[in-house]
């Protein structure tokens, strides 16, 4: 079955929101967790994660023969990857169906990207 990356992006250094209280956090997460449970019971869920801010990233690269480690992110961009799902569905329409549900909950756009290799899927 084809696999897709559903990714969501946030504006880098955008408006810093008021930190949420524990209760608000619970409230915001409950529907997202419920949707993830739906994905799991439908057999679509492979993996999902939310990422820390990009200034916590570290870049490792080759410089000649040497490995150099440095403060990230990899590219300074207006937007950065904020979180993602990896799902497995019959076709693009099913993947778009899940993406629609996610985007409705988090009210920000989702990019749906097919994996190049479906081996093992």
């Amino acid at each position: 079955m084809p696999r897709y990356l559903l990714s969501t992006h946030s504006a880098t250094g955008g408006a810093t929101r008021e930190p949420m209280t524990e209760e608000q956090m619970q409230k915001a997460w409950a529907p997202i967790q419920a949707l993830e449970a739906d994905m799991k019971s439908a057999g679509a869920w492979v993996f999902s994660a939310r990422l820390e801010d990009p200034d916590t990233a570290t870049v490792v690269r080759m410089s000649g023969d040497e490995i150099v480690t440095m403060d990230g992110p990899f590219v300074e961009a207006k937007e950065h990857l904020a979180g993602f799902y990896i799902i497995e569905t019959a076709d693009l329409d099913e993947a778009l169906g899940w993406a629609s549900k996610v985007t409705r909950l988090i009210s920000s756009p989702i990019e749906v990207w097919p994996f190049a290799d479906t081996a093992g899927g």
Partner: protein
């Protein structure tokens, strides 16, 4: 017995290749393989039919021959043999598929017009795969160089494959949303045929596909509406140009040259739509054209009926262009001043027909200087040579007016 010449086979290709390509894509799941095999089958037909005459069912002959060619191709490669093992089963399963009428062309048009593809790609792919137009013809139709069009088609086909864009009619719940881009593609293809060199082919294909869709989805009122709109627009085609190729406006057209057969068919569909009472933008535009087609002359047109229909259209699709067309109808009901008041509130400065409409109203109000300026503005923005010629002629005629 018809004479079997290249023109006849060419016509059969236009009419049948879409269905054959669609069927082969269903069987083999590979667009390129299907296209190549159908192409080969027609090349074979070109040789064979000249000598043996037409088979009883030319379309069926093409599909069967193409299917056998595709199987030959697959046998020759090892990866193909694997695929061949898989195709027999889905083919059988397909026959038992439940649900509404499943036609291969219908499946394919929903794939070609999938919202995940760019709009230009949707139109090109539909005309190429379902309309039987060559890449060169599609390129010419959209004023794009052939290599650029070829690249666009390759890219779209790759996305269909890589992203697994499905090959099926969408579920009932998704249908309204998915039908919209399909109808838009057919309408766009038709309109591309109204001002492009390969115009006749494009308009003919758009009508053929709209007719096929209407036969396959008889419950969708907007499909019928689109077909009626295209038929009624087409009925006036030959009256739209004068001998020297310049545009003749609706008001000056020779109504005896309108195609009565197309009008009859369009009117019958519009009447059926009215009975159904599920109005939509294509049906309303068809109804507006039906009122024009029924009028014996321009002044005898039922303009208040047209204005009412534009009011409905504007309520559903509140765009500036619809508001402009409604204002033109208003001009016929309440006079040029009322129409001009509405037009001047619209933000359509970049649209040549907006300036042309203003120019016409200004001239009717005797404001010739303003009218000249508006005609000049329209001519500068005109999209086609025929329109530019018409507008500069009007401008010249204005010069003598005071």
């Amino acid at each position: 017995m018809p004479i079997v010449d290249d023109a006849l086979i060419g016509r059969i290709f236009r009419e049948e290749s879409g269905r054959s390509v669609a069927t082969l894509i269903r069987i083999f799941g590979d667009i390129d393989l299907a296209q190549d095999a159908v192409q080969e089958a027609f090349a074979l037909a070109l040789r064979k039919w000249h000598d043996d005459g037409l088979p009883p069912n030319p379309g069926g002959w093409i599909t069967t021959t193409a299917r056998n060619r595709a199987i030959d191709h697959l046998r020759r490669e090892s990866r193909g043999r694997e695929l061949l093992g898989q195709v027999v089963e889905p083919d059988m399963a397909q026959e038992e598929e439940a649900g509404p009428v499943q036609d291969d062309r219908l499946r394919l048009i929903f794939t070609c017009c999938h919202p995940a593809l760019a709009i230009e790609a949707r139109v090109a792919l539909t005309l190429r795969l379902l309309g039987g137009l060559s890449t060169a013809e599609v390129a010419r139709a959209f004023l794009v160089a052939e290599p650029a069009m070829a690249k666009r088609l390759v890219r779209a086909k790759h996305k269909i494959k890589a992203a697994h864009i499905p090959y099926r009619v969408p579920a009932e719940t998704d249908l309204p949303g998915r039908l919209r881009p399909v109808l838009a593609v057919l309408y766009l293809a038709y309109n591309a045929g109204t001002d492009r060199p390969a115009g006749d082919d494009l308009r003919g294909e758009a009508i053929r596909l709209a007719r096929a869709m209407n036969g396959l989805m008889p419950d969708e009122a907007e499909v019928a509406g689109l077909l009626a709109l295209l038929l009624l627009t087409e009925s006036r085609w030959s009256a739209r140009f004068s001998g020297d190729g310049s545009i003749v406006l609706l008001r000056d057209q020779d109504r005896s040259s309108w195609d009565r057969v197309l009008i009859e068919e369009g009117h019958a569909i519009v009447r059926a739509c009215l009975r159904r009472n599920q109005p939509g933008p294509y049906q309303i535009q068809a109804a507006i054209n039906a009122v024009h087609a029924a009028a014996a002359s321009f002044p005898a047109t039922d303009w208040s009926q047209i204005l009412t229909l534009y009011d409905q259209l504007l309520a559903i699709t509140p765009t500036s262009v619809v508001a402009m067309n409604r204002a033109i109808a208003l001009g016929e009901v309440e006079g040029p001043r009322a129409a001009l008041n509405v037009l001047d509130g619209l933000d359509l400065d970049q649209y040549h027909l907006f300036h042309a409409a203003r120019a016409d109203l200004l001239a009717r109000l005797g404001r010739y200087d303003d009218a000249r300026q508006a005609y000049a503005g329209a001519a500068a923005l005109a999209a086609t040579e025929a329109e530019r010629t018409y507008l500069t002629d009007r401008l010249a005629a204005m010069r003598s007016a005071r």
